[in-house]
Structures are given as structure tokens and as C-alpha cells.
Symmetry: C2
Subunit: 256 residues, 2 copies
DNA sequence: ATACACCTTTACGCAACGTAAATGTCAATG
DNA sequence: CATTGACATTTACGTTGCGTAAAGGTGTAT
């Protein structure tokens, strides 16, 4: 039995375009081309197409299907196993994404009270006041009144969405820091990523980033026991590790 | 504070290409363009970018992000909720896919014994023999010896992979049939899909498909109580429902 | 002859950029 | 002052798996 594109497509439940595409990428070539240039498929091609569609339904890429069906000695089981791994990984990512969306929704719902301008302003003011009480003297001594006031002003001008974002970023920094500490290498990829995230986090408060200031903050995290306590609370040595990572990140580790 | 593409990209952790792209699609336009044609971003753009990246990390499409960030009165909560629904749906699909891959792997592992040529040949021969015993007389009377022999020959020439596939397709037909019966409409979309799947299933056995033959098989499913029992076992009335769906599918429902 | 259903190739479109290539600008250096 | 190197610009192809024209040839029936 011989088939043209349409007949085969009708039989397999796919479009003629798909068949032409499969021919184009070399995954299913017709048995022959007739005198008018028509693609003619035979039984062997029907069977091969069924194999192709089988793997396609499992979400295998055509690229991989090509290898599977063109090489009869190909280890399908291994290919499917690897494919499964990829799908599992994908699902893990998706779960994470969903969890994050849930968190964000919850955070936004809490933020509804923040959307109330007065409340949110008061909320931010309280955070600034608390911060001033806790660290005010140190940071004003270190950075000067002007810097600190500018930072506070920037914080006060934050929208609710930005506040949500900075909160999340702060949490992410801690989380990634923990993972980075497990590697034990402040110069490693993960630790440098933490430093980078920390820089971005700072940028929410600073209107002007410099490596020097970043390194200065890092040193303060260790020198000031209240900052140290904040980070070490998560894991002992976290403040030191973060400082070292940031010093390397900023390139300020050699000129101590 | 003003930023060029690179400065802003560095700060936000994205590429300059991305920033140009965001400008191109109108989701983040620079505050102004300087005399040399450089894009210059201000604080407002930094903040907006942070919003954009926030939603991007949650997997929201740029198209949707555009609506969210450009319209301050936009209901973010609703958007995120809908996004969540889409993700959940995606995960459901993925779970299904993984389950199918698992099934296929299990089936392939069983097939390892089938890959043993002798065993598989014997296996297929047994199925043919069983089939001949059960339905041989009826189908030979209905379709003639030649047809039946050709069908058997095609079955015998099946590879293990094809056998796995036809088994799966057969199971899928039953499953979808069940769902279609719940709708109660043999002319409905789902029932017609069942008829289509059934046609594809037949094509594994037939080397020549005709609507007439398809309709004939459908009628036989009801007339022969052993076939009827096979389908009705799943749900009473399944054979009749399948027949009606196929008759409509083949367009043979009016010329009875 | 012509209508109509089929076939062909070529090619744009989708999403979110990566990755050149070709060219212009800015600041610093020999 | 010319050159260098790090920036900037635009244009455009590539990615995946086809859908969807457009422009034209083929096959068969009326």
C-alpha cells in the first residue's frame, strides 16, 4: 500500500505540513518521489511514523527521536530513562515556581494593607526608626549623615511592590548564602552569586553603588556583633563567609 | 542616578540584549536617548525593571508583564492567580507525561523478553491463534480469507516497538471511550476522537483502510456478543456507543 | 475546457532572547 | 593627535515544531 502526504497524514492524525517538515529535517523520508514530485510513502514509512509519534507523545524532542528511530541499535530504554529524568527535573522547577507564585500571592495579599497608603507609610517609617535605633550610630559614623538620610529617603519612596521584592531578595540572599557555605569556598561560583545578589539588594537602598562601600558593609557585618548575630543566627560563621565572598567579589580582598 | 544599558544590566543581572529587547517590545523604554543615540535609564526605570524581573522569575510571559507594569490599576493579584492556574495545569500535563513515560519504560522492559526474536514470534503467533479460535469464523466469513491472512501477516511482521504502540493505543481507545460515554453524545468531539483513534488502531492491522470496512467492524462489535462483551465489560452499552460514534465518523450512519 | 482537489516549494510567524557582524562614540594612552 | 579598547548602536539570523498563506503545477471528473 502506498500513501501520499494527505493519506498518510489522515491515517496518522497529523497534518501534511508535519510530514513535509519531517522529510525536511530528515526524520521521515518518503519511500520515493514520483514523476510529478509527489512524496510517496510505503508500509515501512507508516510503521516508522508510528514510532515517531509514539515518542513525540512522550514529549521527546524530534532531534532525539531522529537518533532513536534512525539507529535500530539505539538504546531506547536509556533514552526514555534520560527523558524521564529531564521531565522530573522540569517538574521540580515547576513546583518551585508554583511555590514562589504562592508565596508572592500571599505576600501581595498581606500587602493589600500596605496598599493603604497611610498604613504602608507608617510601616516603612517604623522600619526606619527601628533601624536607626539599632544601627543608626554605627552607620552614621561610618557613612555620614547625608548618605544615611538619602538611603532612608529612598526606602521611604519605595512602592509596596518594591518592598515585596526587596524582602524576597533578602530572603533569597540568606537561602543562597546557606547553600554557598556548604561548598566552603567564598571564591566559588555560588558564593560569588550570593555577593552579586547582595549587591542588588543593596541597590534598593543606595542610589550609588561602589565596590568600596560594598566591601565596607561586608566588613561591618563581621565587626558589628549585631549584624554578625543577624547572619550567624542562620548558621555560625555566616557573616565571615559573606564578608569574604563580598571582598573577593569586589576585588578588595588583597589590599587589606 | 542615570544608567546606560550595560550599567543597568550589570546592576539587574541581565544582558544588554535583553534591555534592548525590552525597549523594542515596549515593556521598558529608557527615560531618554542622548545625543549619541545611547539609551539612558533613570531611577523610575530601575524600579520598573525590578518589577518586570520579579514577574519574569515567576514565569509570567512578557506579554502579560507588559500589561501588569504599564497599567498601575492592573489587578496583579488576579493576574498572578490566573498564572498560578496555568502553572498547575502545566504540572498536571507534566505528571501525565511522566506517568506515560513510566508506563512506556515498564512496557519496554517487559519487551526485553520480546526483543528475544523467538519468544516474540511465538508470542505473536499465540495471539493470532487465540484470535482465530475466538473470532476466526466470523471475520473470515465477513472479510474473506485473503483479508484475514493479510492482516495476520501484518501483525506477524510487527516489531516489538510497534506492538507496544498498538497495545497502548488500544488502551487509550478504551480510556477515551469511557470519557466519551460520559458525555452521552456519539456525535460529540470526544466520541469522534475515539472513532479516529480506533481507525488508527485498525490501521495497525489493516493495510488498506476504508470507511465501509470500518463501519462494518463497528456493526460487528454490537452484533457479535463476544466483541460486545469485550467493550461492555468496561461499561454497559460501550459497544453500541462506539458503533454509533464510528458510524457517524465514517458518515455511514444515514444509509443504513 | 474548466473546475476542483490534490500536490509542490518558499517563506513568514510564534517567545525570549543569544550571538554575531558592521559600524559609531568616548575616554585614555603612547 | 592618532590609536586603542571598552563601550554604544542597528540589523538580522538561529533556536522548536510546526500553522498558515502564497504562488504555482498535477490529476481527474464533468
Amino acid at each position: 500500500m502506498e500513501y501520499t502526504v494527505q493519506k498518510l497524514g489522515l491515517m496518522a492524525g497529523i497534518s501534511t505540513r508535519t510530514l513535509r517538515y519531517y522529510d525536511e529535517i530528515g526524520i521521515l523520508k518518503p519511500a520515493r518521489i514520483n514523476s510529478s514530485g509527489y512524496r510517496i510513502y510505503g508500509q515501512a514509512e507508516v510503521d516508522k511514523l508510528q514510532q515517531i509519534l509514539f515518542y513525540r507523545e512522550l514529549g521527546v524532542s524530534l532531534e532525539n527521536i531522529k537518533d532513536i528511530v534512525n539507529d535500530p541499535s539505539f538504546d531506547c530504554l536509556k533514552a526514555l530513562g534520560e527523558h524521564r529524568e529531564k521531565l522530573i527535573e522540569k517538574r521540580k522547577q515547576l513546583d518551585l515556581l508554583i511555590a514562589n507564585v504562592d508565596k508572592s500571592i500571599a505576600s501581595l495579599e498581606r500587602k493589600i494593607s500596605m496598599t493603604d497608603p497611610e498604613k504602608f507609610e507608617g510601616f516603612k517609617q517604623k522600619i526606619i526608626d527601628d533601624n536607626e535605633k539599632k544601627y543608626g550610630k554605627e552607620i552614621r559614623a561610618k557613612y555620614g549623615d547625608e548618605q544615611v538620610d538619602r538611603s532612608n529617603k529612598k526606602f521611604k519612596s519605595m512602592t509596596a511592590a518594591q518592598y515585596t521584592e526587596v524582602e524576597k531578595l533578602g530572603a533569597d540572599v540568606l537561602e543562597t548564602l546557606k547553600a554557598a557555605m556548604a561548598t566552603g569556598d567564598p571564591a566559588g561560583e555560588l558564593a560569588q552569586k550570593v555577593a552579586d545578589m547582595h549587591r542588588r539588594w543593596l541597590c534598593f537602598y543606595w542610589d550609588h553603588y561602589t565596590k568600596e562601600a560594598h566591601a565596607g558593609v561586608a566588613r561591618m557585618y563581621v565587626d558589628d556583633e549585631r549584624f554578625a548575630a543577624y547572619y550567624d543566627r542562620m548558621q555560625p560563621g555566616a557573616a565571615v563567609f559573606l564578608r569574604d565572598a563580598i571582598l573577593i567579589y569586589t576585588g578588595m580582598d588583597s589590599q587589606e
